[in-house]
Amino acid sequence: MPPGEDAPLQSAETFELLYRSEYARLVRLAFVLTGSVGAAEEEVQEAFAVAHRRWRTLQRYERPDLWMRRVVINRSLSRRRKQQSAARLASRLAAEPVPVDEPVLREPDRALWAAVRSLPRRQQEVLVLVVLDQRSFSEAAEVLDCAETTARTHYRRARLALAAALDPTEVVR
């Protein structure tokens, strides 16, 4: 953590505090990665369920909130892979597409988050952590277990890819 920033969530001495302070943020993060509110909520709840069982250990961590992000990201991306597989299967069987519940968003936003989900995994992870979750690059790097410079590189590439993917009349650079 860079000097001078707020103290990390070390004050989360109880699971409850961690939950209260992080749940909504993690759901947003998971939503962008899964594309479904229900899926995001489920994955975050499952992550908290895992954390609850391991709380004896997790509470010793300096940043249990970052650990939660790691778990939520992994679960969300894993879930989306399964959803994509199910969608492909449904398509082959000419079945109904797998329903995805989304909040009411403007079309440009829907396209934006869809574009985020089309990015390479690492770029997605860094982007949602930095932009959506407002983590610093050092925190994102810690979550993703990579160097800070690597996180910055992924972020830069993600921006470029998004700018290229989105409507140039809406997004400049």
Binding site: A12, Q45, Q134, L166
Partner: protein, 614 residues
């Protein structure tokens, strides 16, 4: 607009879409401010927690509730008899079978094999207008009807040599009076929450006449039955997590998603109770290949109450399970998911795709037998001679427990409620060592084996299969030591979950674990099951004198034990000469002890059945 600004704005709109009451995002330094807000929220939550006092219940954000409305009964209808051909079935709590045929159908079959009669038909409707058939089925003279969903889903899974069909019947049942409305909190889908409600709230009372607002709560939860049903049905459940300290044992406190062999969603529940049952779920999820000390749900009819404990071991799976090769789980080293077959509430086998159903019964270790039950009029065992403590052993005492330990063991600390220090360490202290549970008597011993002493760095209190244990966290592994100093298991990782011991070391008279003698939780299983069963087959471990000492300090006993020395307990108990304090003064008594199993406490209990002045 830059891409950064576009993303920020979109993130802001997303936040508002997901949480309309969320305050606006601060700008232009959102990261710092938001972290500050998180800390502020945490502080505020802490203040609330302090104000509300201990035992704060935390819940997930309140999602919109779905209303499941039961409409008035339809006409009476008869159930068609069960035909032949592919089928699947499940057992309902009252012993009835629900049979699903292909094409789907859901007739009920009485225990006698005769099709039952639908006496009422209901329709449940969720908030979105989707319906599910619900029928109340009863035999003519049945005392309580069964509310059950009438949907079923036959899935073809290879049938084993025994002809046990592994089917998926999505129905669950609940013995209750017919209700007219059910409101389920925390629902995501009407179907899963219906199952959750009727499967878990086995004794909830739904008020007749209500149209809405009736909240189903986990009252009178029969979690074992619920877990069985959910596992059988492959139910995916979202739960409201509740602080276990504020809920009665058996309440679901967590769930974990997974899939069964057919790729169907499966949720395994964690309940607020120190049980062995969750091991089944771990197997189902593929987190562990074996179940030791498995508590099946008994052979008695489910409606008769909690089943007696019986220990089963399926750790010798044949054919063995193979590590999962899928990319997503290859790094976990976990085995493939194992669908488990239940019949009449009893775990009877598991399914391997290339084999079919493998019966567990064939793998049950005959030495694992049900624990004896302490009957009120049980004859006490005959007091035998006082066992001899081997030469060179020493005795350590705490809270009325005297434990004879071999050379090389040192008592670190011991205590009862009120005497437990906040933290006790083994070896070099580590940070964050959890304090022992002050409600339990405990006794920690330190093995002085050189290879242990060199690596032990910290200690934390925990439990394995409901037994109080000490976890000695080493540099590369975690040793799990029971309350009497035996190493009952260890994990190959330093930061192990106590509930997931991966293997164990055979305890030898020489105290030192013998690495070459590792067996996957073998000794842990043997110890735990034997202990629960009152059969201390691990006779080369310790001579533990827990005569007349309950697991919990301060619990009233027939005598106050000043000291005791007891040999290895016989399967149903033992005898000892104890020094007791009586109103008349100290005395020496010959005491007979009965070891039993408490369904209520889910733990072994010790009772003094006879005490004769010596």
């Amino acid at each position: 607009m830059t891409i950064d600004a576009h993303l920020r704005d979109a993130a802001d709109r997303l936040e508002r879409a997901l949480d309309p009451e969320a305050p606006p995002r601060p700008s232009p330094a959102p990261a710092r401010d938001l972290r500050g807000r998180a800390v502020a929220a945490a502080v505020a939550a802490a203040v609330v927690a302090v104000v509300l006092g201990a035992g704060v219940v935390w819940r997930l954000d309140d999602p919109p509730a779905s209303v499941l409305q039961v409409e008035p009964p339809d006409e009476r209808a008869l159930v068609e008899p069960v035909g032949t051909g592919p089928w699947a079935m499940t057992w309902l709590p009252d012993g009835y079978r629900l049979v699903a045929e292909e094409p789907p159908g859901a007739p009920y079959v009485l225990p006698t094999g005769v099709a039952g009669t639908i006496v009422h038909g209901y329709r449940l409707e969720d908030a979105n207008g989707r319906t599910i058939d619900v029928r109340v089925v009863t035999e003519d003279d049945a005392p309580s009807p069964v509310l059950s969903s009438g949907t079923s889903d036959y899935t073809s899974i290879p049938v084993g040599p025994l002809g046990v069909a592994q089917g998926r019947v999505t129905s669950v049942a609940l013995a209750l009076t017919p209700a007219e409305a059910v409101v389920v909190e925390g629902t995501t889908t009407w179907e899963t929450m219906l199952r959750l409600a009727v499967g878990l709230v086995s004794r909830a009372r739904l008020e007749p006449g209500a149209t809405s607002g009736v909240t189903v709560r986990p009252e009178g939860l029969d979690y074992r039955e619920a877990q069985r049903q959910l596992l059988d049905a492959g139910v995916s459940v979202r739960l409201t997590l509740v602080d276990a300290a504020d809920v009665p044992p058996g309440t679901v406190v967590a769930s974990t998603a997974g899939t069964d062999a057919a790729g169907r969603s499966l949720t395994v529940l964690s309940v607020a109770a120190p049980t062995l049952d969750t091991a089944i779920g771990q197997v189902a999820r593929g987190e562990r290949p074996t179940i030791q000390g498995l508590t099946p749900w008994g052979e008695r009819p489910l409606v008769d109450g909690p089943p007696a404990f019986a220990g089963y071991s399926i750790d010798r799976l044949d054919p063995p399970l193979q590590p999962n090769a899928s990319p997503e789980r290859a790094d976990t080293g976990r085995p493939d998911v194992i669908p488990i077959v239940f019949l009449r509430g009893e775990l009877v086998g598991y399914v391997l795709p290339e084999v079919g159903v493998v019966r567990i019964e064939d793998l049950v270790d005959p030495s694992f037998r049900p624990a004896p039950t302490v009957a009120p009029d049980a004859e006490p065992p005959v007091a035998g001679p006082e066992p001899t403590v081997p030469e060179g052993w020493s005795t350590v005492e705490a809270g009325g427990v005297a434990v004879s330990v071999p050379p090389g063991w040192t008592q670190l600390a011991a205590g009862c409620p009120g005497t437990v220090p906040a933290t006790v360490f083994v070896g070099e202290p580590d940070e964050g060592c959890a304090p022992p549970d002050p409600s339990l008597a405990w006794l920690w011993l330190r093995p002085e084996a050189p290879d242990l002493a060199a690596t032990a760095v910290g200690c934390a209190k925990g439990a394995v299969n409901g037994m109080s244990v000490c976890s000695v966290a080493a540099q590369h592994q975690t040793l799990i030591v029971d309350g009497f100093g035996s190493i009952i298991a260890f994990s190959n990782v330093a930061d192990a979950d106590l509930a997931k011991a991966t293997s164990s070391l055979r305890y030898s008279a020489g105290i030192e674990p013998v690495p070459a003698d590792q067996d996957a939780l073998g000794i842990a299983s043997a110890f735990v099951v034997a202990w629960y069963g009152g059969d201390c087959v691990v006779q080369d471990r310790l001579i533990a004198s827990d005569a007349a000492v309950d697991r919990r300090c301060g619990q009233p006993l027939d005598v106050s034990v000043a000291s005791a020395s007891l040999g290895v307990l016989a399967p149903t108990g033992g005898a000892a000469t104890v020094e007791v304090e009586t109103p008349e003064g100290p005395a020496s008594w010959d005491v007979a002890i009965v070891v039993g199993w408490s369904d209520a406490e889910h733990a072994s209990v010790y009772r003094v059945r006879a005490a004769t002045p010596g």
